[in-house]
């Protein structure tokens, strides 16, 4: 066996991967070769030094939880069975409450809502429009103006259709200044 081959096998022997035959071959070669015997000794020393250098690190531990992995993967935490059951019960309660409130709202609305009135086809549905004066914003301002200056206004002013409500002249007698003052 050549020296290079022997030295490679020494490394294998130190790694614990050599069988008995290889070990005997190495020993027989190193007994005859001073160079390989030195290499054998040196490799043992190096191997032991490596073993010692890593010895403290072999006891190193890490305080990590599998939750870190789940957090990194966005995987939800496993929920214990009792907690899972209580969550299901809570969800069922929520649905039952929501259904009850909805049913109550529908039933209550149905009983309280007015019955639809019997309508005469001859009567126009819109009975307010013909009898209602639809004023503009200007009419309201005119009324306020009339209300505030009425005390000092002359009857002719009050009868002025520009400053009085449309039907005022028909329904009320002309107001004297004294009478207008009573309106305050």
């Amino acid at each position: 066996m050549a020296c290079r081959q022997t030295q490679e096998r020494i490394a294998v022997l130190l790694a614990g991967a050599a069988d008995r035959r290889e070990r005997l071959e190495i020993e027989s070669h190193t007994s005859a070769c001073a160079r390989c015997a030195t290499a054998y000794r040196d490799y043992i020393a190096t191997s032991v030094a490596l073993d010692r250098a890593y010895a403290p690190l072999r006891h190193a531990t890490v305080a990590l939880s599998p939750a870190r992995v789940r957090l990194a993967m966005r995987v939800p935490e496993p929920v214990p069975a009792p907690v899972r059951f209580s969550r299901v019960v809570a969800r069922v309660n929520e649905f039952a409450l929501a259904a009850a409130v909805t049913a109550f709202a529908f039933v209550g609305a149905g009983s309280v809502a007015p019955k639809p009135a019997i309508t005469d086809e001859a009567v126009p549905t819109d009975v307010l429009t013909p009898n209602m004066h639809v004023g503009t914003m200007g009419d309201d301002q005119s009324f306020i103006r009339w209300f505030r200056i009425g005390r000092y206004a002359t009857p002719s002013d009050l009868l002025d259709p520009a400053v009085s409500p449309r039907s005022l002249a028909d329904e009320t007698p002309p107001a004297t200044p004294e009478r207008a003052g009573l309106l305050r």
Partner: protein, 223 residues
């Protein structure tokens, strides 16, 4: 931990990797947690030995198991899970670039607290610390391929067949890399005779006898 939880944990720990992988595939998160607790420390040590950064090593542990979780469906649980996990961890360790401005602590710093816990004389502790520093510095001079083989064998205790699975190469290549690494390390350590390493070729061994003086010096007195 309650009695029921302890019983459950013990039951899970008794299962093999294969059983745990199959259970994890069925969304049994406790089985996945058992795999995590089984291998997290080994992967952490591997990441720490390569990156020398404890926080980076923690991230490597998390990333490795996150990948394992994603790959559960296509994992081959017939073989051992350990080489697969270590392969992922090695790739993550070497793909991780040091963060800008980060001062990475040395491996000795990371293990200093553990060393201090040992009961030894101060001189012996100092000698061991110096030996550790020199050896770890020598390991850093190795290339990634050779360093991985050394770390996996001497730190994580993997045999050559498992290392071959991790680095995805024939076992003969692993033997060759280990031999090369030992030879390189020996050359570096020969520069420190004060630690018991004699210069290369300084003393020729007598044929037929393996002198173990250097080994005894490195080992120290029998413990």
């Amino acid at each position: 931990m309650t009695g029921r939880a302890a019983k459950k944990a013990a039951e899970i720990d008794a299962r093999t990797d294969r059983e745990l992988v199959y259970a994890a595939r069925e969304h049994d998160m406790l089985a996945f947690d058992a795999l995590f607790y089984r291998y997290k420390d080994g992967i952490f040590r591997l990441g720490l030995a390569i990156t020398k950064d404890p926080s980076a090593a923690e991230e490597i542990v998390v990333d490795t198991f996150a990948r394992a979780h994603r790959a559960l469906a296509r994992l081959e649980p017939e073989g051992s899970l350990r080489p697969w996990l270590y392969r992922v961890a090695v790739n993550l360790s070497y793909n991780r670039r040091p963060r800008k401005g980060l001062v990475i602590s040395t491996l000795e710093d990371a293990t200093e607290e553990i060393v201090q816990g040992e009961e030894r004389s101060p001189s012996r502790l100092a000698e061991l610390a110096e030996l550790r520093r020199v050896v770890l510095a020598a390991i850093d001079t190795l290339g990634p391929k050779h360093k991985v083989v050394v770390v996996l064998h001497y730190l994580n205790g993997l045999n050559l067949a498992e290392i071959a699975q991790v680095v995805d190469c024939p076992i003969g290549t692993v033997k060759s890399r280990l031999h090369y690494a030992l030879r390189r390390l020996r050359a570096h350590l020969a520069a420190h005779p004060e630690l018991g390493f004699e210069p290369l070729g300084a003393s020729m061994a007598t044929p037929g006898r393996i002198p173990l003086t250097a080994v005894e010096r490195v080992r120290g007195p029998q413990e």
